[in-house]
Point group: C2
Chain length 468, copies 2
């Protein structure tokens, strides 16, 4: 550290920009969201997995090319002199912090594909990292819920994955008016690009262009389209195509004209062909009202092969994105295996829950103490640690004051402040092995034999668990 | 990727050495351990926190010097050209993967010390990283439970922290015969070094020497001791001192002779002075039998100031280590604040639980489905997705077969294999809105109205939750 004034000798350390410190109340909210993700996943029959926080860098460059390295946090062992020397010579680092979970999942499936029972239904809730400038809804480290269904190429897999996402949003208090799952199929996008006779080796550029469109003005989009070879006429057609929206069951789209021979194709028929079965599945799962066709959704990532979707609340970044990626497992050395899934981050989601007033006061997400133990006199104070310890070892959540006051009224105030369900008062009858138990909700108070306290506390706590 | 045989075109990606892929059954075991850590922490009145996975590198070099950088995984943004250029010019990376949680905790406490209610009782269960060669009990990425009690300099804080560690071991099935908490006080170590007139500016070297001792032969230790300036006579004294062990309540140690003037000090008196109050606290918490005085325990880290301890099962690395660090918060820019805590990793702990036969079959840690839904005919099969979806949205964990068989016996086999609590059979009475519910433990079977199924399932599930 630089020497100087006394103040500069005590450096103020801070979390790296775009990362978060989670104090108890912050983490309680995150755990609430993760808890909903986890229980909804399990209810829907998904098993939880996890992978390393760092992966070999080439796990990411393999599919996306070396350019991706500049969007990653790169990692090397400070101990490994070869690695350090290679890096200093201008190479890339050997590892990266995972920017998304799908490559890890693909690697794990490919490694054990022959011994895993089918279909594979997995979820994960790890942290992810992006070497980007932090902004609203976008941090450098964030939590992301990943849900994947592998080994089933039918629309019922897409539907089940979508139903899982919707169930979580519903459990968090959101409704189908507040957020929409905008859905498309890469087939339709490719069909449109084919009609325009756009060269297939540049389709990834087109996907990236479409992905940026929502954030651009019409003229910015036209300029970008021109820069990757679309004529003004093509661009007009693209704008028309990308603005097509409708409900899953009833939609009427304008026809599409083939560039070279003016052949016409009914987009409505194409959409019905591609979405008919999925629409039926979503209807039978009673979540069709959450979904909307939107031909502008492409998801930039190169690995999607069919259904693609984003979950969006107006004016915010996507809450979640996903789709079908039927070729990815094979490309990681596994067998051919159809797959679909989505990722949902915690940052945008928490912003939206906040904006819609769907988060309670942070305090309310902290676990409530089963009892707050109070010593009313000195003898009781001497016995308090042993009594508290026995209750804790029996599985109860017990708090007590660390202050030395014996002022019971004040300590009852502390018990309420700690949101305890009960107060256990160690008073004059302690030598008869008797304590006072006060239900802090009802105010009801009674004497309880100390040995019976666990039995008496248990149903009180169970009742509260059912209420909450 | 290198071109070559078709096989080499499908690269086999693997997790980085020393990191782990957690398939469902692996993660279920980890979640079981983490669940015990979390609930024991909450029962003992600790609040959960979390911090960033990466920290500024100087958070670690600040206390430990630049040498620590070679033991860390260093991190930089691939996007930030200045960072990349600085690194290539021979500098250190700006960030590191956290090797331990205490510096993050100290930073977080220092940043908000004035607004946090006292005492601060926090726990965290994040992943940590070490740039070391992986070996038994030591991985490059591992989970670690951190428990810290700040703002209280009395032995009751040490005792409560120790009680929390012991309660977790006990909950996991270990007993005081299988593992011991070996405890010492830096004061005693410093007293011994003072008697030997070893220069205080080299005490950190001595701590590191003592820390290595358990893994060394006597002559290796003597050689290392000589290399940092201990005479042969000093080394003999050190060996005597470091081999002193005893119970907390009754111990008889040989006296200690001062080097320069042959003054004698009773180690037994010293120990009683330092440990008397803590021993009383541990006794009143009924965990004294888990603890043993061991004057060889120093914990290498420079920040410990008082009590130090390790939890050890014979023949293994330490399960946990901790102690008192009363100066650390201040050194990170916070106010003077006494503190103590410990860290317990998942790798050694799981090895020991395995060795002692304390882990059940991995399958048994997976959450059990509340119901496995079976379609006995084609009409039922058409109705299955909607019925399953409604139960899931009501919070039930529901599985079903993705195979097309209508062979009920085979599907009941699948239900048992999935460890479901019940089977719900959609059969001929489905048009009367009636299904069969089979309790898979008792074999009992009865007709249930579909609308009443949630009410009927709920108590079955609650009963199971109480059994487990």
């Amino acid at each position: 550290m630089a020497s100087g004034s006394p103040k500069s000798q005590l450096p103020k350390f801070q979390a790296p920009k775009g990362t978060r410190d989670f104090y108890p109340q912050d983490l309680a909210v995150r755990r609430y969201i993760e808890g909903v993700w986890r229980s909804v996943s399990i209810n829907h029959g998904f098993d939880e997995i996890d992978g390393p926080t760092i992966e070999h860098l080439d796990l990411y460059t393999h599919k996306s090319g070396p350019g991706i390295a500049s969007e990653l946090f790169q990692v090397f062992s400070g101990k490994d002199e070869e690695q350090v020397a290679a890096m200093r010579a201008g190479g890339l680092a050997p590892f990266a912090l995972r920017p998304e979970f799908t490559p890890t999942l693909a690697r794990m499936v490919a490694a054990k594909a022959n011994s895993l029972p089918m279909p594979i239904k997995w979820f994960a809730i790890p942290s992810h990292f992006r070497a980007e400038r932090p902004q609203r809804g976008r941090l450098r480290e964030f939590m992301q819920w990943n849900v994947d269904f592998l080994g089933d190429d039918s629309p019922r897999a897409d539907a089940e994955v979508i139903a899982t996402a919707v169930a979580a949003l519903e459990r968090l208090g959101l409704n189908s008016q507040q957020v929409k799952l905008r859905i498309n199929d890469r087939f339709l996008v490719d069909e449109a690009l084919g009609f325009l006779e756009y060269p297939p080796d540049r389709w990834n550029d087109a996907y990236a262009l479409f992905d940026r469109r929502a954030k651009q003005t019409e003229s910015e989009f036209a300029k970008d389209a021109a820069s990757i070879g679309f004529s003004a006429d093509d661009t007009r057609h693209l704008q028309l195509f990308l603005s097509m929206k409708g409900s899953l069951s009833s939609h009427e789209f304008e026809n599409w004209h083939k560039k070279s021979d003016d052949e016409t194709e009914s987009v409505s028929v194409l959409v019905s062909d591609r979405f008919g079965k999925l629409a039926d599945e979503l209807t039978s799962l009673r979540i069709a009202d959450w979904c909307e066709l939107d031909l502008s959704i492409v998801r930039g990532l190169a690995y999607y092969t069919g259904t693609v979707f984003e979950i969006i609340a107006d004016g915010e970044r996507a809450i979640a994105g996903g789709g079908r990626y039927d070729k990815l497992i094979e490309s990681f050395g596994g067998p051919p295996m159809p797959a679909c899934g989505f990722g949902m981050g915690d940052v945008v989601l928490a912003n939206i829950l906040n904006d819609k007033g769907l988060l309670k006061s942070e305090m309310e997400y902290l676990p409530r103490p089963h009892a707050f133990v109070i010593a009313a006199n000195d003898e009781a104070a001497a016995n308090l640690p042993g009594i508290v310890s026995r209750l804790r070892r029996k599985g109860f959540h017990i708090r007590h004051s660390y202050k030395t006051t014996r002022h019971v009224g004040k300590l009852l105030g502390d018990a309420n402040k700690a949101r305890a369900l009960t107060a256990v008062i160690l008073g004059d009858k302690l030598n008869e092995n008797t304590v006072e138990l006060k239900d802090l909700a009802s105010g009801e108070q009674r004497d309880v034999n100390l040995d019976q306290l666990p039995e008496v506390l248990r149903p009180l706590i169970d009742r509260h668990a059912l209420d909450s």
